[in-house]
Symmetry: C2
Subunit: 155 residues, 2 copies
DNA sequence: TTGAAATGGTACTAATTTAGTTCTATTATT
DNA sequence: AATAATAGAACTAAATTAGTACCATTTCAA
């Protein structure tokens, strides 16, 4: 299985397309452009609208318009709106609920939590703006709370 | 769904447990310790053995022994051995095979590839050694080819 | 005023993947 | 000879994802 669900993937296509079409677009148009199931895409767009990414209007010339700024839409947000928040393993829920029987002696608990944080940081840090224009990367320094100095001799 | 499958999670438990038990351990022991389905865990251990992480010996006092160094076992390796290599979206395969109909005008292709690389870098960089001892992190500088300077004023 | 094209909402179904089981064979120890 | 382990393969069940279907409402235009 892929890390991103198809819903997630299609949502990014939708948001990107709408960013390039400020006057809006319909599910029909987008499904045709990318050869995607129309009713499936329509459901995704309903969800995106419901979560405040898009505004809609009905009727013959209806459709959706992107109403949030690309730089304010993080991958983690979209993920949470469409599927569920990111988590590394099943057992993270058990640990939170304190029902994990190995909680007190789990040899990987701390280490996994570190990996979890590193991936989550990427998801919270990368926005639609960066997906649209990958040359913009305001991310690394924020990501680690560190200052970066380029390393001339590194191959 | 979780990022790591249960197989992946259990495999990390197995590897960690065996690292702490250099004389080896059996599927029975480990399944009992962590309250995990024995036959399921047994299958996972067979796979780990098959892929060269463990050596096995049969018989009454048989079991498995960890034969690879923790610092040489990256998360990406385990993932590939048990499930499949990491990929961000379904369509990455289409793009590779050049069967993606939107290949030439996909607005998110490049951006997504950047995200893919960043996550994959983590998976290739984090080893069992780091999972076992999270204070050891030889990773960030290698990860970005940059030199890190701590930033005193950052909150 | 009627028909077409759009979204809104909900429920349902099909396909796929993951998780787990079962069975038989082989090996080693006591 | 009994027991406890791995080896290997095939199978089943549960859960998740992907996708449909239906009906209602809104809007526009002929």
């Amino acid at each position: 299985m892929s890390f991103f669900s198809r819903k997630m993937d299609y949502a990014l296509l939708v948001l990107s397309h709408l960013h390039g079409n400020p006057d809006g677009s319909s599910a029909r148009e987008i499904s045709a452009k990318f050869s995607i199931s129309r009713p499936f895409l329509a459901n995704i767009m309903k969800t995106l609208c419901h979560h405040g990414y898009l505004s809609s209007h009905r009727g013959v010339h209806g459709g959706y318009v992107l109403i949030r700024k690309p730089e304010d839409i993080a991958l983690a947000d979209i993920m949470q709106s469409l599927d569920e928040p990111f988590h590394l393993t099943d057992c993270s829920k058990d640990i939170e609920k304190q029902t994990c029987s190995a909680r007190n002696f789990c040899p990987i608990r701390t280490g996994m939590s570190g990996v979890h944080d590193r991936i989550r940081t990427i998801l919270k840090d990368v926005t639609l703006a960066e997906i649209l224009d990958p040359t913009i990367r305001p991310s690394i320094s924020r990501q680690f709370g560190l200052e970066l100095v380029s390393h001339g001799t590194h191959k």
